[in-house]
Amino acid sequence: MKAVLGLEDGTVVKGKGFGAEGIAQGELVFATPFTGYEEALTDPSYKGQILMFTYPLIGNYGVSYENFQSDGIKANGFVVREVCDHPSHHKSKGTVHSFLKGEGIPGISGIDTRMLTILTRNKGTLRATLIAGDDDGEEAVRLAREQPTISELDLIGEVTSAKPYKIGGTGKRFVVMDLGVKQNILSCLSERNIDIVVVPADTSSRQIREYEPDALLLSNGPGDPLQAKNAISVVRELADEMPVFGICLGHQVIALALGARTYKLKFGHRGANQPVKDLRTGIVHITSQNHGFAVDPDSLSGTGLHITHINANDGTVEGFKHESLPILSVQYHPEASPGPRDAEFLFDTFVKAAEVPNAKTSGYR
């Protein structure tokens, strides 16, 4: 099958199509882990994006259908150097090709993905169109240019759950606001016996109060945090009523709610090797990350938020804590999947913070 990838800057790359025939639109973003394509493709944070793995051999261990981070593929398209036709793994139930085909997602392979990574690094994230089944480069570029930017899209609405649901537990009750939550965040909480209520992104603070939660967790999710209008106002309203935790998009939402600003990174952090330094201990943890926006550190003064973690590579904000309220939040993914589990202990920190007597009303005061 023919395939072509066109970028808004006019770059055209022709390769071999795999997965479903069709057109995929979105920002072209690159991710740098060797493994974890099943988890990444099903990560709702990739909604609205065409995902490219920098590691050239993808699909070696097949697809197990056991590591989904949502109900199916969320990335709009998939770009790789080589896709494996003959996977080998005891859990493999099929190839990446058949996986994408089954989900109706187009892919392109056989192309110089490193060239595209360097292009993205130099020019910043570019809008792209992937056509599988045809190789009309001009058409691909035209479509790439015509599409809206990621900040103009309401992507959360496409990935949040339609209705609230519960995952019972014997411990404290967490309301998780689903901005595109990864399955493993819920699993990590469940493993700690948390009584989970997952609510859609448009749930009001009144509705949340009705669940009598011990804490509120804002999940990861796709797109520009400014699009998460309801979540921002919910945090604003509940911040002094209960512990509030955030992961990734949720982290940016908390920052916005408390008056800080966010901005778009040139090309984001997407990988399993991002070093995060805990400023309190000096220890560096290797984390899994997937974000294109970040919190502006200069905008934090006066919000009561203090930076607890920074990215050791570029100094961007990776975590903060409120000076008086039980608000803790990180930009990276402690739930991994894919990626290293070094920071999974953060869930214990969340649980502990929710267990502080009177945390619900008085915070740390």
């Binding site: 590691y55 080998s88 005891h90 990574t117 399993a272 290797i286 589990r341």
Partner: protein, 1099 residues
């Protein structure tokens, strides 16, 4: 700055000579460590006995001792230098073992020396098999069931519990040395016995077998602040049961899911934390589906860490050295990006393949089975964007004659089951031609089950499932994951496509899979040149991608490249004046670390001259492939096509072939031909012209040259057939020296004593033909062999040193101990040697290095050969005489004159320096430990002192042949040698040594007034010599033999000496030197002087 300002001076222990299990990787890590520590203002005292290393260059450490790596000598050095601390984890197993020994002997306490970096306790917990297992279980991880034992009896007990087969792993050894797989009770006994002998603490682990499981490794680092990172993981394509150093290894792991990978990664981090390592370590896992075991931890830099450094660009040793003095990972900059810290995990966007290089082309009788103990001497690494490309590149980097399709169908199955050095090619063969399927039924089900899960496009279904079946079967027999077998199948499929149809599309596809133009030409029945022209015309050009630790996420400053066929080339050539230097490739016998030394020196010299200098090389262990040595590093195979690609992209004005040894010299003529053909390129070959190289290499032309110059040479001739050979031999007279033309390290060279032997050699050993004539030389029995290293600019000649061999002519020069200055040659002979050197160098118009081999007999000097290139003695000469010969050669090569450079003569040295070789027999069961015209040694050591006897003693000590100053010497020599033994044994007797000998030898010596007891030979019944050796009642063996018959006779004895770790001597000259050395060692103390101090004496 170190964290503690008290850390002003540290002692670093190198790893000694190159041997199987320990190649150039510790020169790479040690050199990095020296640089790294000195950057922080810490002064470095280095001890290493290996002169061929960059780290022992006088400007790498502050104070350098080229001395035996022995705790008594290091204690003297510590007493003299008073360092603050010792860094244990950077000198390989040797450094680790010495550190623990120094601690146990109380030397560290006595001088208040701190162990920096990884603490002693961590070393014990990782190296002591019992403690290790306990620690692993404490943290909730699993190790295979095992018992640490210290006797054969206990091992037998363990066998009853754990059942055969069992794995035996000696504690504190190198390269799995002394261990093995026991499938029977008697194998268990013999391996345990050998292992106990080899272990520093007389302990082996007897372990439940996980043969056939997959093996994965993690390179992990930790700092004092408890930050832990993994540098990379590696997948051994070969299963458990084959030492990782013997396995084909790919990085990153290919067949682990993210869940699998994270599970192992988390376990690795847990382990490094539990051990409390500060620095780096390597952790090995055995994996089968969901199950895994922790197999081993190496709490130090290793060959794997060198591979990981080169594979990712992350300088593990450099960072580990800084951690040792208290810095934390986030305080250390990432040298590649310059802007990000070292506290991150590298990621790559290519695949890296390592293939070991085995010495079986040299040791035809050695057991070629790959097992848990290492047998390979070196390795190659290749980088590609596809695994097929990496495989192709790695295989052509090996510099071996590939044997495709020489196996019988019924052999294949057994060969697939039993791993040898040829397994990759056997798999290829089996896939291509199929093989007898005795196990058809048994394997049938598995194949069907597995292939059922694979989605196959319908049009190929039938054909493909047949292939899958074949792959599955091979996977089953080899325990290699079918994923990798498929990749080889892909190569075969591509070959078929090319055979059927040559199209631009197929050509592009083939290039992206790593096929060479030459191979494509072969498959399509065309000429290499035509394929080359066609693909360039079609725009199918190589591109260079950068190794940058981060998959292009950040802009990297590192000039480290590999080739691939993509669209964007990142080489970005400058318009500066450039030179490309060809490296030496994998460490193999005859082509050792010495040539890497020369490559690095040439680079440094040209950079000093302001020339942009590039390296092309494929050996991951070396300093030359450290990315900050050259202006650009091309990590590539060293074939004509790969070198031409660099030339095409970078357009250097010159390319240097003389530093990488014979392998790179062999490229001179093909390169010149191709450069002539490619009129678009004006690159020239620098230095000595290819025509001159050809004269020196071609025995016939060289012989004519000597005749013209009136220089004596051994009577010689060449033959194209058996009959011709017999005629020539008759004319010259036996014994003769026979060899094929164009040799590397004396491959297939033999001394032949009679016609029957000659016939066998010519017919079988070298398969004489018109293209491959056999060269026949008269063998100068009893002559003294001489080596000369010199530099010529075409007008003047600078003689670096004349070396006198300790063994007589007939032993390969690479295996002979030698001494500077010569001890027995008179001035006339030396003057003749100088004259001949000058005459030959000038006649060949040598511009650069030249090495000559000569022999003196009865006052007459004969010339054997001239090599217009670097030699394996050059580093030893440079260290001894304090003159940078290679740098001078490099500068001469680009047009400077010796006169302008200010070098006319080398001063005589007021001390003595001996080079001794290290032989691999102990690592190669079955190989006959005897020296001959075929080179055997893997590396060398240097001894330096005030007189020959003490120097020789030191050199032997460094080479692992500690000469006894008390105990028993066993002597068995051939009749010709008996007279000379009288004075030798007299000296030993006077030194207080007890003598025993075989009946004949003892009788002769007794008759000459020596006290000696008779001991039985093996076939004479017991008690015999082997028993005495086994009981450690013999401390030195002197056994000479040169005739074919006694060679076989003495084999068991020599082999026993090797297996029981007893120093042995096989030449009368060495015996004499040993007697002098023992005598002197009894009388006086060794001199402890740094190389910088010795060289100051020359100013």
């Amino acid at each position: 700055m170190p964290k503690h300002p008290d850390i002003d001076k540290v002692i670093l222990i190198g790893s000694g000579p190159i041997q199987i299990g320990q190649a150039a990787e510790f020169d790479f890590s040690g050199t990095q460590a020296c640089k790294s520590l000195r950057e922080e203002g810490v002064s470095v005292v280095l001890v290493n006995s290996n002169p061929a290393t960059i780290m022992t260059d006088p400007d790498v450490a502050d104070i350098t001792y080229i001395e035996p790596i022995r705790s008594d000598i290091i204690a003297d050095i510590i007493a003299k230098e008073k360092p603050y601390g010792i860094v244990a984890g950077l000198g390989g197993q040797t450094g680790l073992n010495i550190t623990t020994e120094l601690a146990e002997k109380g030397i560290l306490d006595k001088y208040d020396i701190q162990v920096l970096g990884t603490p002693l306790e961590a070393i014990y917990n990782a190296e002591d098999r019992g403690l290790f297992k306990q620690m692993i279980e404490q943290i909730g991880e699993k190790a295979p069931r095992s018992e640490a034992v210290s006797s054969i009896k206990d091992a037998m007990k363990v066998m009853k519990e754990l059942h055969l087969p069992l794995i035996i792993r000696p504690a504190y050894t190198l390269g799995g040395f002394g261990g093995g797989i026991a499938r029977t009770k008697s194998e268990l006994k013999s391996i345990v016995e050998r292992g106990l002998n080899r272990s520093r603490i007389h302990q082996v682990l007897v372990e439940e077998s996980v043969l056939g499981w997959k093996e994965f490794e993690y390179e992990v680092m930790r700092d004092a602040n408890d930050t832990c990172i993994t540098i990379c993981n590696m997948e051994n394509i070969d299963p458990m049961g084959i030492h990782t150093g013997e396995s084909i290894v790919v990085t990153p792991a290919q067949t682990l899911s993210d869940t699998d990978h994270q599970t192992l990664r988390s376990a690795a981090i847990k382990i490094i934390r539990a051990l409390g390592i500060e620095g780096g370590c390597n952790i090995q896992f055995a994996v089968r589906d969901e199950e895994y075991y922790v197999i081993e931890v190496n709490p130090r830099v290793s060959r794997s860490s060198a591979l990981a450094s080169k594979a990712t660009g992350y300088p593990i040793a450099r960072v580990a050295a800084k951690i040792a003095i208290g810095l934390t990972l986030d305080e250390i900059p990432n040298g590649v990006t310059k802007e990000t810290p070292a506290s991150f995990e590298p990621t790559v966007d290519y695949t890296v393949l390592k293939i070991p290089r085995w010495p079986f082309d040299k040791f035809t009788t050695a057991d070629k089975t790959l097992t848990t103990a290492m047998k390979s001497t070196g390795e190659v690494m290749a980088i590609g964007r596809t695994l097929e490309e990496s495989i192709h590149k790695a295989v052509r980097s090996l510099d071996i004659q590939m044997r495709f399709g020489e196996w019988r169908g019924d052999e294949i199955e057994e060969l697939l089951r039993t791993p040898t050095d040829e397994r990759l090619f056997i798999i290829y063969h089996a896939l291509r031609h199929g093989f007898n399927m005795s196990q058809f039924e048994e394997l049938g089900d598995v194949a069907v089950q597995r292939t059922a899960r694979v989605v196959i496009p319908t049009e190929f279904q039938q054909l493909q499932s047949l292939r899958d079946f074949n792959s599955e079967k091979i996977a089953k027999l080899t325990s290699i994951d079918p994923f990798f077998i498929r990749k080889i199948q892909n190569i075969i499929d591509m070959e078929e496509r090319l055979r059927k149809r040559m199209s631009v599309d197929n050509l592009r596809m083939a290039k992206r899979m790593g096929f060479t133009d030459e191979r494509i030409a072969e498959l399509t029945g065309r000429r290499r040149e035509d394929i080359n022209d066609l693909r360039r015309k079609s725009g199918i050009k190589h591109t260079y991608k950068m190794v940058d630790t981060c998959a292009a996420e950040f802009e990297a400053k590192t000039p480290y490249y590999y080739s691939t066929y993509e669209t964007q080339c990142e080489a970005n050539p400058s318009d500066r004046r450039k030179v490309l230097i060809l490296g030496a490739g994998p460490i193999r016998i005859g082509q050792g670390i010495e040539f890497d030394y020369c490559t690095v020196h040439a680079v440094l010299a040209l950079r000093e001259e302001g020339i942009e200098t590039h390296i092309i090389n494929n050996n991951p262990e070396t300093v030359s492939t450290d990315y900050d040595v050259s202006d650009k590093l091309f990590f590539e195979p060293l074939t004509l096509e790969d070198v031409m690609n660099v030339i095409e992209t970078e357009r250097p004005y010159g390319v240097a072939v003389q530093f990488g040894g014979q392998a790179s010299v062999n490229l001179a003529i093909p390169l010149e031909k191709e450069l002539k053909r490619r009129s678009d390129l004006d690159t020239v070959i620098l230095g000595t012209s290819p025509e001159s190289i050809n004269i020196a290499e071609d025995r016939y032309l060289f012989s004519n040259l000597l005749r013209k110059l009136n220089i004596p040479q051994p009577d010689n001739g060449s033959a194209n057939s058996v009959e011709e050979a017999k005629e020539v031999a008759k004319r010259i007279g036996y014994p003769i020296l026979v060899r094929p033309s164009y040799v590397l390290g004396g491959r297939a060279m033999e001394i032949v004593y009679d016609e029957t032997d000659l016939e066998r050699y010519v017919r079988e050993a070298v398969k004489v033909s018109h293209e491959h004539p056999v060269l026949i030389d008269s063998f100068l029995q009893g002559a003294t062999e001489i080596d000369v290293d010199a530099v010529s600019d075409g007008e003047n000649v600078l003689i670096g040193a004349i070396m006198e061999h300790i063994e007589e002519a007939g032993i390969h020069s690479g295996d002979s101990a030698c001494v500077i200055p010569p001890q027995s040659l008179d001035d006339d002979v030396l003057q003749t040697v100088r004259d001949y050197t000058k005459q030959i160098a000038l006649a060949l118009q040598v511009k650069g290095l030249i090495n000559l081999q000569m022999a003196a007999k009865d006052g007459r000097v004969y010339v054997f050969e001239a090599n217009p290139r670097s030699s394996r003695t050059v580093p030893y000469v440079c260290k001894t005489v304090g003159i940078p010969l290679v740098k001078i050669a490099a500068k001469v090569m680009i047009g400077h004159s010796l006169e302008k450079l200010g070098y006319a003569e080398v001063k005589d040295i007021p001390y003595v320096s001996v080079k001794e070789v290290v032989l691999p027999f102990d690592k190669l069961p079955g190989a006959d430990p005897i020296l001959g015209p075929e080179m055997r040694s893997t590396g060398e050591v240097m001894g330096i002192d005030r007189d020959f006897a003490r120097t020789f003693f030191k050199a032997e000590l460094s080479a692992g042949n500690a000469l006894p100053t008390e105990g028993t010497v066993f002597i068995s020599v051939q009749d010709d040698d008996k007279p000379a033994m009288v004075s030798i044994t007299k000296k030993m007797q006077d030194a207080g040594l007890k003598l025993i000998g075989t009946a004949g030898t003892a009788r002769y010596l007794k008759e000459h007034g020596i006290q000696i007891d008779v001991i039985k030979k093996i076939h004479e019944g017991s008690p015999n010599i082997i028993g005495r050796m086994r009981r450690k009642e013999v401390h030195l063996v002197i056994n000479t033999a040169t005739s074919k018959l006694s060679l076989k006779d003495g084999y068991d004895m020599r082999r026993a000496a090797v297996d029981f770790n007893i120093p042995y001597i096989t030449t009368i000259q060495a015996a004499k030197a040993a007697a002098d050395a023992i005598d002197m060692a009894k009388k006086g103390k060794m001199t402890i002087n740094s190389i910088q101090d010795y060289q100051r004496e020359l100013l």
